[in-house]
Amino acid sequence: MSVLQVVFLVTGFVTLLAGVMVVASPKLIHAALWLIVSLAGVAVLFVLLNADFLAVVQVVVYIGAIAILIIFAAMLTRRVMTDSGPTHNPTWWLALVSALVLLGGLLALILQVPAFAQAGPTGLPLADSGLADLGTSLVDANRFLLPFEVASVLLLAALIGAMAVARPAAKPEEGAE
């Protein structure tokens, strides 16, 4: 059992455990904090996969922005300091069954394809794990410029939409006194 395998197993276990605690935690803020642990675990896995730029972007975007946004929203939408009411639907057992069926199907599919049993990663031909190539490909008109620009338009639309939706209702104009 090499060191990398041990690291993978520990990280994978922590990520999964955090994921289970996200969906099972009774208090919402605890679920948000467990989500952060899970996101950090995925960042470590990205590092194991030699995608270090994506790992850093994961920490900055997911943990540094999205998770904080989720925590803010969870804090702003609670009537009292403690959560009230059941946290799961009455039909949660049906959700469990469907999740398990989905898992079984995916595992059966994965373990069938022989190419996926590849023992180790192929050598990495790009020197800096593709960082320069990633940058050039995003602005090259023949490669991925269009998805890049569409993604930026999407982000602009989301920015304007979120501000427009979350704005408090406009108060009526005060009389000139």
């Binding site: 994978g12 994921g19 996969l49 949660w92 999740a99 990663p121 979350a166």
Partner: protein, 102 residues
């Protein structure tokens, strides 16, 4: 060395946990967290495939970056909607927001 199937199994497990979260949670923000777990599982899958099968084709990492952008924008708009709903209905439990017109 770590076989590819280990990464794919981990991502399948994470995805199923996210599916359970989306289907079983009552709180709208809890559902959103399940969606984030699913998107992370997908990202993990994409990067694992990129690294093991086609490390020269940078499309794997580009796809992951686009998924990051989509996840960020969807989280922002979703949370803005949830806050707006909370302001009017004082609740964000998914089964209590069940009137089309009020």
């Amino acid at each position: 060395m770590i076989p590819l199937s280990w990464y794919l199994t981990l991502s399948a497990l994470l995805f199923s946990v996210g599916v359970f979260g989306v289907l079983a949670r009552r709180n709208a923000i809890g559902i959103l967290m399940g969606i984030e777990l699913m998107l992370n599982a997908v990202n993990l899958n994409l990067v694992a495939f990129w690294r093991y099968l086609t490390p020269t084709a940078i499309a794997g990492q580009v796809f992951t970056l686009i998924v990051f952008a989509v996840a960020a924008s969807e989280a922002a708009v979703g949370l803005a909607l949830i806050i707006s709903i909370y302001r009017r209905r004082s609740t964000i439990a998914a089964d209590e927001i069940n009137l089309m017109k009020w």
